[in-house]
């Protein structure tokens, strides 16, 4: 045995060779996937949280401690059954019927009296009711929200007036933003990640692709994992709900000593 060579016994050498070979394959495959431009298809997302309206209290907790694990329960769309499981477990069988009922409820003026909880992530506005939009804006507080609600109101009132018009998907109240990963906070890492979300006709997310990285894998992962659990009011072509896709961005920012959440509407692409 040559004393100048490291004495690794053959089995261990084999393990290291296998390991390095696996890594090389993984790197090559990863590069090939990244180069291919088709969006990755994920396994069906089953969002396991109950669709029950949660209080503003929950959201304020979220606002106070964003680094804690986020409770992703989604508020019910007014008019829909609270027991309806999110994301399609039984929905698939009668998807169209259920969505049609949901759309009907959405246009029902009575449904608007159940205002979405205050300061929820998205300004999901009931069509045709600026009053509701005002409620959402008032409850949420802050100029950004009023802007968001105000800009939502004209769209929705128009859609109420012309029921045949196509409407894009809307994020529902109760969608939770990701917490700021502790490791990223410690290292002072910030960034903005642009995501493309594929939404099925029931409003569940079936794919999330990262269009533009933030430069920090930890933030990309947190954003993607959070958005996977989001619910949307599905897009409609005027008659029935259809699958759609949406681009949205999540920006992680270390600016203030005390955390805040701002509301914004995301761009719509279909």
């Amino acid at each position: 045995m040559n004393p100048l060579l490291p004495s690794i016994d053959p089995s261990r050498r084999a393990c290291m060779a296998v390991g390095l070979s696996l890594l090389a394959h993984a790197v090559l495959l990863g590069g090939w996937w990244a180069a291919a431009s088709s969006p990755k298809r994920l396994a069906p997302v089953v969002i396991e949280l109950a669709a029950q309206a949660r209080a503003p209290m929950q959201v304020q907790w979220l606002a106070a401690a964003p680094s804690r694990p986020v409770d992703r329960s989604a508020a019910a769309v007014p008019g829909s059954s609270p027991a309806k499981p999110v994301g399609g477990s039984r929905a698939m069988a009668d998807g169209h019927r259920r969505v049609a009922a949901q759309m009907a409820a959405a246009t029902n003026p009575r449904a608007a009296s159940v205002a979405p909880p205050a300061a929820e992530v998205s300004a999901a506005v009931m069509p045709g009711h600026a009053a509701v939009a005002g409620t959402v804006a008032g409850a949420a507080g802050g100029p950004g929200d009023a802007r968001a609600a105000a800009s939502a109101a004209p769209t929705s009132s128009m859609s109420a007036a012309e029921p045949a018009r196509a409407v894009g998907p809307q994020p529902l109240p109760g969608n939770a933003l990701p917490g700021y990963p502790l490791a990223a906070r410690e290292d002072g890492l910030e960034g903005r990640v642009l995501l493309r979300v594929q939404i099925d006709p029931v409003g569940a997310v079936c794919d999330v692709a990262i269009l533009q990285r933030s430069g920090v894998n930890l933030l990309d992962q947190a954003a993607r994992d959070a958005v996977r659990a989001w619910r949307f009011r599905p897009a409609s072509d005027g008659r029935e709900a259809v699958a759609s896709s949406l681009q949205l961005a999540i920006r992680f920012s270390l600016r203030e000593p005390a955390p805040r959440m701002e509301l914004a509407l995301a761009g719509i692409a279909r």
Binding site: S7, V27, Q198, D220, S253
Partner: protein
């Protein structure tokens, strides 16, 4: 079947894609951002009773290819000594305690040599490491034997903190070349973390011509390492994980002008863990692990010293109201396999421990008790009491008192014709008082400590037989600053002023200084560049017990810069010891002179 068929959903997604392809995108609104805001670290945690120094993943990445000991010195607030640079033997001194008084854990698994009583931190490559936490002060009531100076907890890369694929190629002075890669992904409820790496350096001549065994050749180092961790969430309540880690190194040293001496060193761990939340109140963690520390020296006289440590530990955490109760049991078996015929080749230490953490208003209290039993040293009980008081929203006071012990090593107990099997453990009592003050985004910490160690084992002339006669006392003050300024500048600094002395002779303890410190400043330039500077320094030290071999004080400056020229590609560079300072950590050994390294890093998207 409640779940929709994957095929159906896949078809839906396909429809969505095709729908998008057919329609034009509306450009009604420019996408506005959802904003997630976080408070900048550092943030004083409201339950801190004993401060823990954290070395973050970024600190480690910007440190490039360096010895873990050097990183601990720069970011961990500790002292170190080494027989040269990368891969050479080194020692760590936490709060003036000696090298055997440190417990080193890798992902909760204790590593180290039972013959020497130290862990080979010099053999651990940085590329596997994601994070290091240093707990300074006596911690035997938490971690068992040896934690007189403190505990170093090393965490390897995980999917929670370092997701993604990464490949890095490094080149540098003295023929340094390294290739490391990691593949860390979360697949549903399973996390996979695989890291592999290799490093080679021609090194430099680590001894001075005055050294008795000087050899003017370069003393190189090469290492191969890998780690694999699998974590599987069986359901919300149960999590299983398994882990393997191996670092295999070969370092050359000087053992005479005509000899090519080298040491082959392997540090390995294998462990499995079961974390079960049996109820909202009761969390149970069961770990079964084995670690190896194998050392083979090849020289005129060769020697093999292999230590195996088997650990079975069961820790239960009970959350009762605002209180937390910890109850656990551990069994540690240390076995030695060597070409030296030790009189006794293995021993077992059985332990039970318990702790309580509670809050009374603004006061946080902590109490720990541990009983360690072994047939050689009998029973040993250590404990700790801690108190923290959130006096103001931004000012916290804390105090702690604890005892700790260090079981004698196999070398002093069982070395043939030398060991004394009746030696008792070294023990210590320590008090600390401190304060943490938060000023905006700056956290200031001040800790005064007093560590009294007794029954220290020394080899007094004329017989040089190991005996428990010595006493030492280390009193000191540590000040730390951790700050992120508005311009994004990140500053971390730590200074310790201490009096590490033998209580018998009054002399300064070997290789420890009266003042040491470090600082690191990182400045982002735009979104894709960071530059920084590190300083480490220490005062005068003596390399013997009677203050007659003097090693002068030093300050070493290192510079680093990192630039991402695309989301996937980054270039990181370092100049270590930029002023080419010549100094000594161990008499007649040469720490690294000025050297530079450059790393190209590829991190594709998730």
């Amino acid at each position: 079947m409640n779940r929709p068929s994957p095929l159906f959903l896949a078809a839906l997604c396909a429809l969505a894609t095709s729908a998008q392809a057919q329609t034009t995108t509306t450009d009604a609104d420019t996408p506005r951002d959802y904003v997630v805001t976080g408070a900048r670290q550092p943030q004083a945690r409201a339950d801190v009773v004993r401060p823990v120094t954290v070395i973050t993943a970024q600190d480690i990445r910007l440190s490039g290819q360096r010895s873990l000991l050097e990183v601990l010195q720069t970011y961990g607030g500790v002292e170190m000594a080494a027989n040269g640079g990368l891969g050479q033997t080194g020692s760590l001194f936490i709060r003036g305690a000696s090298s055997e008084h440190t417990v080193v854990l890798i992902d909760g698994v204790r590593i180290g040599s039972a013959t020497l009583g130290t862990a080979s931190l010099d053999a651990l490559p940085l590329d596997l490491i994601e994070r290091v936490e240093v707990l300074q002060g006596p911690s035997s009531s938490l971690y068992g034997s040896d934690a007189i100076g403190g505990v170093v907890q090393i965490f390897t890369k995980s999917a929670e903190r370092s997701p993604g694929v990464s490949l890095a190629l490094t080149g540098g002075s003295n023929g340094l070349s390294a290739l490391t890669g990691s593949f860390i992904k979360r697949y549903g409820s399973t996390d996979v973390a695989l890291s592999l790496g290799t490093l080679h350096t021609n090194g430099y001549d680590v001894t001075t011509p005055d050294h008795y065994a000087h050899n003017p050749d370069r003393d190189g180092y090469r290492t191969r390492q890998g780690s694999l961790r699998l974590t599987h969430k069986v359901n919300d309540a149960h999590e299983l994980s398994a882990q393997l880690m191996q670092a295999h190194g070969r370092s050359e040293y000087d053992d005479g002008a005509t000899v090519d001496a080298l040491i082959r060193q392997t540090v390995q761990t294998a462990s499995t863990q079961w974390r079960a939340r049996w109820s909202p109140v009761w969390l149970s963690e069961l770990r079964l692990a084995r670690s190896w520390d194998k050392s083979e020296s090849v020289s005129t006289f060769s020697g093999v010293f292999n230590t195996t440590q088997d650990q079975l530990s069961w820790q239960n955490t009970l959350s009762l109201g605002g209180n937390t109760v910890i109850l656990g049991a551990e069994s540690l078996r240390q076995a030695v396999d060597s070409d030296t015929n030790y009189d006794v080749k293995s021993r077992r230490i059985n332990s039970v421990f318990g702790g309580w953490r509670g809050k009374l208003g603004d006061h946080a209290l902590q109490a720990d008790l541990r009983h360690d039993g072994n047939s050689q040293f009998g029973d040993h009980i250590t404990g700790q009491l801690g108190w923290g008081w959130q006096l103001l929203p931004d000012l916290r006071l804390r105090a702690a008192y604890g005892t700790a012990f260090h079981a004698p090593t196999f070398n002093v107990l069982y070395y043939p014709f030398f060991g004394v099997p009746t030696l008792t453990p070294e023990r210590s009592r320590s008090t600390e008082v401190g304060a943490d003050w938060q000023l905006g985004n700056t956290l200031l910490g001040l800790t005064w400590f007093d560590n009294r160690i007794s029954d220290l084992i020394i080899y007094p002339p004329p017989t040089y037989v190991p005996t428990n006669v010595a006493r030492a006392r280390i009193r000191g003050v540590t000040a730390t600053v951790s700050s992120t300024l508005a311009s994004g500048t990140r500053l971390k600094a730590s200074v310790t002023a201490q009096n590490p002395e033998s209580r018998d002779t009054g002399y300064q303890l070997q290789r420890r200084s009266r003042v040491y410190g470090s600082a690191s400043v990182i400045q982002p330039l735009g979104d894709s560049t960071r530059v920084g500077v590190e300083l480490t320094g220490a005062g005068t030290r003596y390399d013997n017990a009677t203050e007659s071999v003097r090693m002068g004080g030093y300050t070493v400056v290192s510079l680093f810069a990192a630039h991402s020229f695309s989301p996937s590609w980054a270039l990181e560079g370092r100049i270590n010891n930029a002023t080419d300072k010549r100094y000594e950590l161990v008499q007649n050994y040469v720490p690294p002179r000025a050297n530079a390294q450059l790393t190209l890093r590829w991190t594709p998207g998730l």
